[in-house]
Point group: C2
Chain length 343, copies 2
DNA sequence: AGTGTTATGATAGACGGGTTCTTTTGTCTA
DNA sequence: TAGACAAAAGAACCCGTCTATCATAACACT
């Protein structure tokens, strides 16, 4: 099969040789002009540039990559682009990538099905990437069936550490401790928990933080509720708590959206926030959506996280090579959804 | 400068030649095994596969692309990844791309500065892309200084049509007509407008739709207010309207976030929604953030938009070549923030 | 005239995968 | 045992960019 028009007919991309022919110079001179090297007569340079312009020459990415052995792109593999955590990370990575003159090669795995590190690695291996980043927030990584690609940096976004691969994640455990300490200091002890879906790794760590914080103070954790991260599920849970638990003084919702729903439910049930019940969330994601956002929450510096992730994935960026497990600490944002509990 | 270790030392990626040497066969035999071609002795095949496994061979993206003349990737250039419209589009494109076994090469231009089509095209031209998509929602495209790259599909996300380039956008004008018609049918006439920043093209078209709808019914449009798309700016505008305009019966906010803020402001001012004032928004973006979302709004099928964009950008996908201006129609979602105006 | 500088061309090779053509090897049949 | 034929494997080359030599001019300065 005739793969491509082999010469000057048809739509084959314009090569340096084509430019050279059109300008009546050799291919090396074209190269010199294209790369701004010295020792080219001004007149010749202009003739070559005119030919480039006229023919629409642009250097072949494939040819250049083949020669240079680099792609100037970082691979990013996530299950769902729109998920808050992924989105913020993509944003941070995009900033860091831009600063390093890198592109992002984005692959979205199935939104619904689970995927494995092995599968993600296989997909990324066939793409133009100098390093790869795999987001595994939804499930525990299958380290046992996984081998990092030799020669390129790999970063896995996960709470689980690995001896030979750099892992990064927001500190989903530590954020719970921050919030619980804040509530403890105010004097709360009966702190209920509204979590995300139990299969989520983020959820598991946030819940563990809540539970450990209570147990450390010898308080029995009362049955955690399970939502689906949405405001509606937070509302349902809040409604349930308002009706069934008259001793609780605070609610820790595992993200801001559920916290926002819970606040609405409490108020619909005649309870005041924060006078009767304090509420805290995680993510600091409400600002654009809710006017006068008063939710006490934890913010992760995701721009910083993106930068760290990028720099560990791409060799040139410096930090690569060392295997570390990075936990981006959260920052407590105290607003007015928390107060001293009623007497 | 020694670019890369030229042979078997160091960390140069494993090539077919390396595998061939290790297996004691020629490079072509390795190629046959790698591509599942016939006429390879079973024993030889196994020996080659063992060598591949042992050395960790993976075919070079650069080599293959150079030969095939295709990249199996679509370029996407946006100013801000996190912006709602861009995000949803990325999501739709990602789905379509996955179905076509394509990756996405994502480039984020400066979030703050404006960028031109010419600049975006120049950036994308140096990347591994079979087609490019440029999001220009923030500003009017500079068609006059722009030439599409020859040989690859180009799609610009913009409301402005172009004779030689396919353009796509949500119908930011038509969505206003949908909402205004809905309000007219209920009996509203005094409909105020809270828009986004006036430099935004989306804003300009949504506002034009509001204005034209009113003028078509010979109603004088009363001074539109300008927000910044955030709930807080919607709150400020709503507060202002509640205090200064006692004749209005409805508010059209140019996105859901501002609508949500406006509703909060109206209620804080003692006005009921929808009994006293009806409120509508655009985007249908509140569901995750607000419990019992009751906002009447317009939803764009962004998955569909992503698919259309992708198929026009990538030649193989069929639709490419034809130059069209696609307007994705919005779908009116009637909830309970709109009602018959008070008498 | 001799020396150096600058501009350019010619040629080749490296990079990795894939195609085409050719050669070798092996098996079967007359 | 020669001839026919198929299977297996190798040799050569292409894709486009960049670099590394080397050769060859033209020109200027001493």
């Amino acid at each position: 099969m005739a793969r491509r028009p082999s010469n000057d007919t048809g739509t084959r991309p314009v090569s340096m040789a084509d430019v050279a022919r059109a300008a009546g110079v050799s291919q090396q001179t074209v190269s010199r002009v294209a790369n701004g090297l010295p020792n080219v007569n001004e007149q010749t340079r202009q003739r070559v540039q005119a030919a480039m312009q006229k023919l629409g020459f642009r250097p072949s990415y494939a040819g250049r990559s083949l020669r240079d052995g680099r792609y100037h792109s970082v691979g990013l593999c996530v299950n769902d682009v729109t998920k808050f955590g992924n989105l913020s990370m993509i944003d941070g990575i995009a900033s860091a990538a831009r600063e390093h003159h890198c592109a992002i090669t984005l692959v979205e795995m199935s939104k619904t099905e689970e995927f494995s590190l092995a599968e993600a690695t296989r997909r990324m291996a066939a793409l133009p990437v100098d390093g790869i980043i795999i987001g595994m927030s939804r499930m525990a990584p299958d380290f046992e069936t996984f081998d990092p690609l030799p020669g390129i940096g790999t970063v896995i976004v996960t709470m689980y550490a690995h001896p030979r691969v750099t892992t990064v994640d927001s500190d989903h455990y530590g954020c719970s401790l921050l919030l619980m300490d804040h509530l403890f200091e105010l004097g709360h002890e009966q702190i209920r928990y509204i979590g995300g879906p139990s299969f989520s790794v983020d959820e598991q760590f946030r819940r563990a933080g809540w539970q450990d914080a209570l147990e450390r103070k010898h308080i029995e954790p009362v049955e955690p509720l399970e939502g689906d991260w949405s405001a509606n599920s937070g509302y349902e849970a809040g409604r349930y708590l308002a009706e069934h638990d008259r001793t609780m003084t605070a609610i820790y919702a595992a993200n801001d959206q559920m916290a926002n729903g819970a606040i609405a439910a409490l108020r619909d049930s005649g309870l005041r926030v924060p006078e009767d019940v304090s509420v805290v969330g995680v993510d600091d994601s409400l600002d654009d959506f809710v006017a006068h956002n008063e939710l006490t929450t934890v913010r992760f510096d995701l721009h910083q996280r993106g930068r760290e992730v990028f720099e560990h994935a791409v060799p040139e960026a410096g930090t690569a090579g060392k295997t570390v497990a990075i936990r981006i600490p959260g920052q407590l944002i105290i607003r007015h959804s928390t107060a001293i509990p009623r007497a």
